[in-house]
Amino acid sequence: MSQPANEAVSGRRPYRRSMKGWWRRDPFFVRYMIREGTALIVAAYAIVLVAGVLCVSQGEAAWNGWLAAMRSPVSIALHVLLLIGMIYHSYSWFEIMPKTMPAMFVGGKRVTATTITMSGLAAAVAAAVALFVVVWMLRP
């Protein structure tokens, strides 16, 4: 952190707690940083997909190249990592949803945080199952 001008003149050197590793000092902050870090996972997957779209647009050889890359051990390992990160993203998204959405009332009573989180997680499981079923039915 840079020194304010008046302190440089007076020669005062007040103690400033370092920012280094601040989030490792508290498990709450660690969870916060992992939650924010899932953005890198989501970004990486968007890049994988956009590469796929560009390959399809370039023809069969390019698409087969993308498929071959997806089959490489490095890609499989990366996608296992992406899957774990994406599941955590999904979980944490609904975990903080009671704080990110406006208060909801049903029958004059405020819907509890647990209900909101559990409903969200149930919706995520339902969406995953529905997606798999649709893809299953579309299989050759």
């Binding site: 924010e36 989501v42 970004a43 956009v50 779209v53 498929l67 992406l82 998204w93």
Partner: protein
Amino acid sequence: MKRSNAPVFWGLFGAGGMLSALFGPMLVFITGIAVPLGLLLPRDLMSYPRMLAFARHWAGKGFVFAVIALFAWHAAHRIFHSLHDVGIRAGTLAKLLCYGGALVVTLLALWGLLAIGF
């Protein structure tokens, strides 16, 4: 008073976050693990003629575009707002790089999907 552009970015962040929370894990599993390994799903599920037909259909095109663009804007917004936490000044340059990256991904997806045709 000048209208803030923050609600637009926040809206894209929220939409992308919700879409990825609902479908992200299964999408990663299908495209990155199940199909490449032929696990539960056949490998030729994503063969060229099938993917071409999928990307030419309005529903497939729309879904692919929504997933890529919203995932990118979600990630860009979250990364931009986390920069301060890792000790990087979140200035104009950082903003341009984050949201500009999402814009590039969006435009590439749009271009690719349009080039594939209908």
